[in-house]
């Protein structure tokens, strides 16, 4: 076999205490389309960042043409012929195609005419018909990606990494993009193709590698594997290894009934019932639009279709304040941006959604009651902090997550929507958070838990709603659900029921 263009040899990457990659090994050969598949959080992004010089391996090495190489930053990577194209193209909207392609051209005086001709040649090589004088903001996503690919080609790309390039493209554009990827490989480029869509992996790739939990699981020729095997490898671990499903506490009382809920251009036709005492898990991949469903129920996104019945009456919720007043809590997946004011004290964050509880008639805060509440949750949720007056940003991710839960539990909601309840926190804290949510529903609440972590979906969900690209694929009973089944629905291998 020829020498690999680029290879990872036993590469590990640690961020603080978390291992994002562990002894990863991968070889990319000239002329192949190499697909990489894995669950969200499997370590794909970290791997790309190491290959493009954004991160440095903690241990292990990266080889280019068989020689150990250190890539210091993405510019160094580009000079060695490694470039990446992402789902959201990074073009400069106000510049035209030529300028975008030669964005990193240096020199005080640029030869515009020569650049234009070169841009035309590159666009032709990509196989697109495109006027090089058009301004990038007017281009379709697929055209913008073509511009990005042409930019990479202008720098003699030898390894082109395409990270979910078709995730936001229409079917027709996606076909076009796959054709480009194939033709580049035919010209000798190593194409790394990362995708959640297994059907396109099988259509396009020569070889496919599975990674899981930051480890390399398998690399096979595409003819030697099949979707079922890939899904099994992606899901992998013995389900229930560290999450055991707690018995359902569902009652017969329907708290929330959603019929045909939709938001134009985002998701449509979502229907489910949620009973008191029940946990409904929402599974799916990134881009399945599960968070948008939650935002529509929480009043932060305006629904354009469907009916929602809540506590037996039609529900019209137009703002988060109304949702909170109705007893609906939403624990965001994004602690930093939407969940917590990191610079402010734990106590302030905990009382944020329920400040009214602590206000005197004159609008002054009863600090004593507020402190008592915060100390109470600190004890009950086992939040490890020296003091409730320290900024919440000083805590570990798991403890931040608990502060966020405390903030919402304190309003004693009827419906608790939790988005990615355990993202980025350690296993021990995960189990604690799961127990908290289960205890909440056991006392008569209902929970909607959005999670991209399959073991978590299976451990939490009394029933499991699977979404894919804004559509509801199925609602599975816990006992009938398997990781493989959920993954097949989430990746579109199996149609909607």
């Amino acid at each position: 076999m020829t020498q690999p263009t680029l290879a990872l040899r036993g590469v590990s990457k640690h961020f603080g205490m978390t291992a994002a990659l562990t002894t990863m090994t991968l070889e990319l050969f000239p002329g192949e389309v190499h697909a990489i598949v894995g669950e969200n959080g499997a370590g794909k992004s970290t791997m790309i960042k190491i290959m493009t010089g954004i991160h440095q391996p903690s241990t292990g090495q990266l080889e280019i043409d068989g020689t150990q190489t250190v890539l210091n930053g993405s510019k160094a990577a580009r000079l060695r012929g490694v470039a990446a194209v992402y789902q959201e193209p990074m073009v400069f909207p106000d510049l035209d195609v030529t300028e975008n392609i030669f964005i990193s051209a240096e020199g005080l005086f640029l030869n515009r005419a020569a650049m234009r001709r070169a841009a035309q040649a590159l666009i032709a090589r990509v196989g697109m018909r495109l006027d090089v004088d058009r301004v990038a903001s007017g281009l379709t996503l697929a055209e913008q990606q073509a511009v990005e690919i042409a930019r990479a080609l202008s720098q003699d790309v030898r390894v082109l990494i395409m990270d979910e390039p078709t995730a936001s493209l229409s079917a027709h554009e996606a076909t076009e993009l796959r054709r480009i990827a194939r033709s580049l490989a035919d010209q000798g480029v190593s194409v790394v193709y990362i995708s959640h869509r297994l059907e396109e992996v099988f259509e396009l790739a020569d070889r496919v590698s599975v990674i899981r939990d930051g480890r390399h699981i398998s690399t096979k020729l595409i003819g030697q594997t099949d979707p079922q095997t890939l899904i099994a490898e992606m899901v992998g671990r013995e389900v229930g290894n560290y999450f055991t499903k707690m018995p359902s506490t569902a009652t017969d009382e329907v708290l929330l009934s959603v019929q045909g809920l939709g938001v134009d251009g985002v998701f449509d036709d979502i229907s489910f019932d949620l009973r008191r005492g029940e946990v409904l898990a929402m599974a799916g991949l990134i881009g399945a639009r599960r968070t948008d469903v939650a935002l529509a129920l929480f009043g932060m996104l305006k629904a354009t279709a469907g009916r929602v019945t809540y506590k037996g009456a039609p529900m019209q919720i137009g703002s988060s304040a109304e949702a909170i007043a109705a007893g609906i809590a939403y624990v965001s997946e994004d602690r930093r941006k939407l969940g917590l004011a990191m610079a402010l004290p734990i106590r302030w964050n905990m009382s944020l959604a329920t400040l009214r509880q602590f206000l005197s008639p004159r609008g002054l805060i009863d600090t004593r009651a507020e402190t008592a509440m915060a100390e109470d949750y600190r004890r009950k949720l086992n939040i490890r902090t020296p003091d409730i007056e320290v900024p919440v940003g000083m805590l570990s991710g798991g403890n931040q997550q608990k502060v966020m839960l405390a903030k919402w539990l304190n309003m004693q909601p009827d419906l608790l929507i939790v988005d990615e309840p355990t993202r980025g926190i350690d296993v021990g804290a995960k189990a604690e958070v799961h127990a908290l949510i289960r205890a909440f529903v056991a006392q008569g609440g209902a929970a909607l838990v959005i999670s991209s972590d399959l073991p978590e979906v299976l451990a939490m969900g009394d029933r499991i709603l699977v979404m894919r690209e804004g559509r509801q694929m199925a609602i599975l009973d816990h006992d009938a659900a398997t990781s493989e089944g959920i993954m097949a629905l989430a990746t579109g291998q199996k149609g909607a029921a």
């Binding site: 949702a323 402010l344 400040l355 002054l364």
Partner: protein, 319 residues
């Protein structure tokens, strides 16, 4: 962070004590009650506006239009007075202009979604323009004696009305910021507006209230200026916004929002006033005084940064 803020205020207090002691030693007149009151009187309009500006900046916004609003209010008073409107009515109209002007700022910022920097820069120009249209190049004066007395004479013994107003406003805003739900929301919105939105807080309404308060207090301060000087011109309070913002930032309020206290602003007011006063008593010219204040402002930004890096360094080493 709370501790760090407290220690920042501690530092300000220490600086203040040093300036105070130095002034007292250098010039015996400094400690006289007359000098102390006079020191406040000369900048009273700015320091009143600085109290509301503290809230605005903690809220991660800025109001550049305060100086022009002071000018507009003062000129509107002069214009109305000259046209035979009874002064109490004119005062009410001027305060109304302040509320309206603040609401205009608030509307563009919260409903149209423009940055406050841009909106209030525009109204800085607009309000000033209106003031100049009303008064043109004349000076308007000869206000009733009771009006001038409010600005110039002691109301409670030697203490003038404006100083009493400052103390009362300080007390109210202190309680609001430190103890009330509104104050808490001011910090939270300034720290992270999205988090506040998701917690059901009406951030647009909150900001609207703040900008209306800023406009009203600025208009009030403009009237105080008219009373103290006894005449108005189109350039009343020109450029005051920068002095006001300087005082607030020097007091440890973060320009990025979410951080700062009213006590910090008060200490900063006292430092600036005493420093200027001390330098004046030593016959140091106004230009040099301004330069020294500028250096102080830079120091106020640099010093916490140095302390922050020092505090961070050992943690990063252990990670």
């Amino acid at each position: 962070m709370i501790k760090r803020l407290q220690s920042w205020e501690g530092l300000l207090a220490a600086v203040l004590v040093v300036i105070f002691a130095f002034n007292a030693l250098m010039t015996p007149e400094f400690l006289g009650i007359g000098n102390q009151i006079n020191l406040f009187q000369l900048s009273i309009e700015k320091i009143i506006v600085a109290l509301v500006m503290t809230l605005i900046i903690i809220n991660a916004e800025i109001d550049l239009s305060v100086g022009s609003m002071m000018g507009l209010s003062a000129c509107a008073f002069g214009y109305l007075f000259q046209n035979g409107i009874a002064p109490p009515v004119a005062i009410a109209v001027c305060l109304g202009i302040g509320v309206l002007g603040g609401a205009v700022n608030g509307w563009f910022i919260t409903r149209v979604g423009l940055p406050s920097l841009v909106v209030t820069l525009a109204t800085l120009i607009g309000f000033r323009g209106l003031a100049r249209v009303m008064v043109e190049d004349r000076g308007i004066g000869d206000f009733p004696d009771w009006f001038d007395a409010l600005g110039q004479k002691g109301l409670l013994g030697p203490i003038p009305f404006a100083l009493i107003a400052f103390v009362l406003l300080f007390a109210v805003i202190y309680v609001v910021l430190e103890r009330s739900g509104f104050g808490r929301k001011t910090y939270v919105i300034g720290s992270n507006r999205d988090v506040a939105e998701f917690a059901g807080i009406d951030t647009a309404r909150h900001k609207m209230i703040l900008f209306i308060a800023s406009g009203a207090v600025s208009a009030f301060a403009g009237l105080l200026y008219a009373a103290r000087v006894g005449a108005v011109r189109g350039d009343v309070a020109l450029g005051f916004e920068l002095d006001v913002i300087t005082i607030v930032l020097l007091g440890g309020v973060s320009i990025f929002g979410g951080k700062g206290t009213l006590v910090g602003t008060l200490l900063s007011v006292l430092i600036v006033l005493n420093l200027r006063n001390g330098m004046a008593l030593l016959n140091i010219t106004g230009h040099i005084q301004t330069g020294v204040i500028g250096l102080l402002l830079i120091a106020s930004v640099v010093v916490p940064r140095i302390r922050l890096t020092r505090a961070k360094a050992p943690k990063e080493a252990s990670a």
